[in-house]
Amino acid sequence: MLKMLINLFGGTLFGLGLTVSGMVNPQKVIGFLDVAGDWDPTLAFVMGGALLVAIPAFRLILRRSHPVLAEEFELPSKKDVDGRLLGGAALFGVGWGLAGFCPGPAVTALASGLLPVFAFVAAMIVGMAAYKWIS
């Protein structure tokens, strides 16, 4: 129960952060990616702010033997850079550049009620299901 409250609170903080920072707005994301245009560096400040908390947090928290409410930390096990990582990141980058949406902002932006956002998220889930199906 407490774990579920953390999930809800964690999601809410994350969604609020994406909204306050303007990252739910594809115009601001494209403004960052458009280095040859009227460049908007805001996205770098968002990542910087997040890392300012996350870097010391991981250092301190991962010294614990286990999480407060769970038995173990679920960390990625893969260590090598392989073709899947590179290919997946490249495809994701093209999609991100086309729409100005990555997964978190797209899901959060559903709250705008705009139809194309729903279309993006539906297509994203189809893409995820396609990967699951072929893998």
Partner: protein, 139 residues
Amino acid sequence: MENFTPINGLIGGLLIGLSTALMILFNGKIAGISGIVGGLLARKGSEVGWRAVFVMGLLLGAFVYMLATGGPIPVNLQASLPVMVVAGLLVGFGTRLGSGCTSGHGISGIARFSKRSIVATLVFMGMAIITVFVTHHVL
């Protein structure tokens, strides 16, 4: 740089970092959105429940913003509907194949100094910059 909003960006970033810290400290989970959304397709109920609650939280965060400001969330779309669909497919497939997105690789992974995440972030950011350059300045 007329649209540059560093203070809001920094505050929002701190909130995202705080969420990432809470998720790992209490539940031992990485706050990576593509993994969380992709995991909703799992058949096991134990995998789906916490993810669904986190995703509801994302939307709740947007509603909290709307309540606090009394206005809509700022979403200015930059692509036509067909392009949005193609982009969605690429983002969904690509993030699963590449094991993460801007949050899982770009924040949690970089914060752990993971080589895979640093490389992935450079690749997806580089490809996104090239894509925007081509669609905005070449085509």
